[in-house]
């Protein structure tokens, strides 16, 4: 599997938001718990809509949740 060119801080943000579970986040975003787990592990690249929805749940701008890796063009 090719490594995605970005990382994310969803796990940490969930923890900071009263230890929100993957299932709770999935419910609020409209995806399954497994999809949240896949995004966290960098196994799945979410659509722009889902990425924005995740950022919206944490009340953060998109770039504070997902970060482009500097060593990748």
């Amino acid at each position: 599997m090719a490594q995605l060119p970005f990382t994310n801080d969803i796990r940490m943000l969930r923890f900071l938001m009263f230890e929100m579970t993957q299932g709770d986040l999935g419910d609020r975003v409209g995806v399954t718990r497994q999809t949240i787990a896949a995004i966290e592990q960098g196994k799945y690249s979410p659509s722009l809509e889902v990425a924005f929805r995740i950022a919206h749940v944490f009340n953060k701008p998109l770039e504070e949740v997902f970060r482009w890796q500097k060593d990748i063009d």
């Binding site: 409209g30 995806v31 399954t32 497994q34 896949a38 799945y44 979410p46």
Partner: protein
Amino acid sequence: MSFREKTHWAAFLALAFAFGWYFLAYPWAMVSTDAGVAAVAGMLVPVTIIIVAVMAATATFFAIRAPKEANLKEDERERSIHIRGTHLAYYPLVLGAWINMIAIFYRFSPGVYLNLLMATVVIAELVRVGSQLYYYRRGY
């Protein structure tokens, strides 16, 4: 493991075992006779019953255990996995169709064409479900 992944495993195993039995137990010596064609129809009945029964039992069992998950709509990742699996299954399907078309020129019996067509569909279905399981596990 999600509800859909579990039902995919059930489908994959049911297909593999049911059609595995079919192709091993089919009386190949009489494939070119009318009885060979009748055998295809006769053997497809238990195969279909096995697959439908396993799928229904598995879906019911896991839906009772996790009703919330069973009622969830497919999300974008699952839709994408399904599209990829269906795309991959297209190749064995087309290959099988070509083999069937070429086989017509060799004037085989209807029993041979029936089995060839069935093998094509079964292989395509196994590739579809198998690749979807692979993507569920590995991600992409």
